[in-house]
């Protein structure tokens, strides 16, 4: 026996390490994820990611500068027309806003205030095959805090997970640990959207709820993280099974994470 142990000592150590890792996993499934060493690793990787991203941006900007010169005149004329159209739209919207405010006051509704936002740049993506996260170039120095909503003009991206002074890690909608309270825009049916790596699944939707493919899911605001009414995902597939109380609803995020370069973090 001692001969066997000394002969295969290294393999026994490796086997023991595998057992420890498996035990770690089972403990976390029960009690939640460990945050061991998370901040120092993010600090180091965020620093190097920032250097890499800036170097690439510098190289790209040389090419972009040439394109910019070529297309400026054409773009300028198009933008002037666009500005005129938007001015007209803005005047109409202002009228509607004033009317809306008057009516809200008449009905004693809470006044809607647009949340403050910080523009962030994505400096790192998809670190591990078992999760969906991005790293952004701003952190607590710019007022970013844990669990703040991250959005683009298309819709919800995810929420802030870990924050350092000038870096933050964002949990994307598709991360298995991310859940968003949503509702179907068409009929206000509510549910919880959970990340499934490539897309998302709507949970706890009653068998009798009217959900159709193509329905847009928007935030319901019930989770206290995302403001109400932001587009989140589009329903791709609905499966109903006899004798199962809930439907299986698969949804695709409206934001294309592969093309994500900038986002807005909404301050609370």
């Amino acid at each position: 026996m001692p001969g066997f142990v000394s002969k295969h000592r290294k393999f026994i150590v490796i086997f023991f390490l595998f057992v420890v890792l498996f035990w770690l996993l089972t403990v976390q499934v029960k009690n939640g994820r460990f945050l061991f060493l998370e901040r120092p690793v993010l600090a180091v990787s965020g620093f190097v990611e920032r250097i890499i991203t800036r170097s690439f941006s510098a190289v790209e900007s040389v090419g972009d500068w040439y394109d910019f010169l070529v297309s400026t005149d054409r773009e300028n004329r198009r933008l002037k027309t666009e500005v005129e159209r938007l001015r007209l739209n803005s005047a109409l919207l202002n009228e509607l806003l004033f009317e809306n405010e008057r009516l809200r006051e008449a009905l004693s509704f809470k006044k809607l205030a647009p949340p403050l936002a910080v523009m962030v740049q994505v400096i790192g993506k998809d670190l591990s095959p078992a999760s969906s996260t991005i790293t952004v170039d701003k952190g607590s120095d710019d007022g970013i805090g844990k669990d703040m909503a991250v959005i683009t003009s298309d819709g919800v991206v995810g929420k802030v997970h870990t924050v350092l002074p000038n870096t933050a890690k964002v949990l994307l909608l598709t991360d298995p640990g991310n859940t968003v309270a949503v509702m179907v825009q068409r009929n206000r049916e509510e549910g919880l959207l959970e990340g499934k790596l490539v897309n998302c699944a709507l949970k706890y939707v009653s068998y009798y709820a009217d959900i159709q493919e193509g329905d847009l899911l928007v935030t319901s605001g019930l989770d206290g993280i995302y403001p109400k009414g932001l587009p989140v995902a589009t329903v791709m597939k609905v499966t109903k099974q006899e004798a199962v109380a809930f439907q299986t609803v698969v949804a695709e995020p409206v934001v294309r994470f592969s093309r994500l370069e900038e986002a807005l973090v909404l301050k609370k």
Binding site: Q28, V48, I52, G177, F257, S258
Partner: protein, 170 residues
């Protein structure tokens, strides 16, 4: 391999995976360079070092991302161990076809993680996960593994390591 080489690999693998590979992304799929590195370390150093390197790199990825601590460490450790065993007993390192094993190991790891997430969180859409992420990423990783292996051979890393092993045996 020398400890400082491991240290450099560990320090660079996260930023390279998260930042440098983004411009290489095709339709949201980018190669898993960390897995290719584990595979090559396993091939050239053997099962024990391969498993240890896989566990270390995987654990670092777990810490750096938001996944359960140990999930990628466990799967990458297995990849390192298997590639080490394959390198020692079955595969000819000079044959470029060995990257097919990397493709297979990448798919196996993807399925393992999907199965684990299915057991833990439930309702993982397997078909879209396999067709939309696991298979394309495995193929892309295989291609990058081929390039990495070519670079390793070009830099005579294999010869240096073999010489060191022979010296040890003597």
């Amino acid at each position: 391999m020398k400890p400082w080489v491991y240290l450099v690999v560990l320090l660079l693998i996260l930023p390279v995976q998260a930042g440098l590979l983004n411009p290489l992304s095709i339709g949201g799929i980018k190669p898993d360079i960390a897995l290719a590195v584990v595979f090559i370390i396993g091939l050239i150093t053997g099962p024990v070092e391969g498993a240890f390197a896989g566990m270390s790199i995987g654990l670092l990825q777990d810490i750096g991302s938001a996944s359960l601590l140990g999930l990628t460490g466990l799967s990458r450790g297995m990849v390192g161990l298997l590639s080490g065993l394959l390198g020692r007993r079955v595969l000819d390192i000079d044959n470029p076809m060995i990257v097919l094993f990397l493709v297979a190991l990448s798919m196996a790891e993807g399925l393992f993680i999907a199965l684990f997430l299915q057991t833990t969180y439930g309702a993982v859409p397997f078909l879209s996960l396999v067709a939309g992420r696991i298979v394309p990423q495995a193929l892309y990783t295989g291609l990058c593994g081929l390039l990495l292996l070519h670079l390793t051979k070009k830099k005579n890393v294999l010869t240096a390591l073999t010489r060191r092993e022979l010296r040890k045996e003597r």
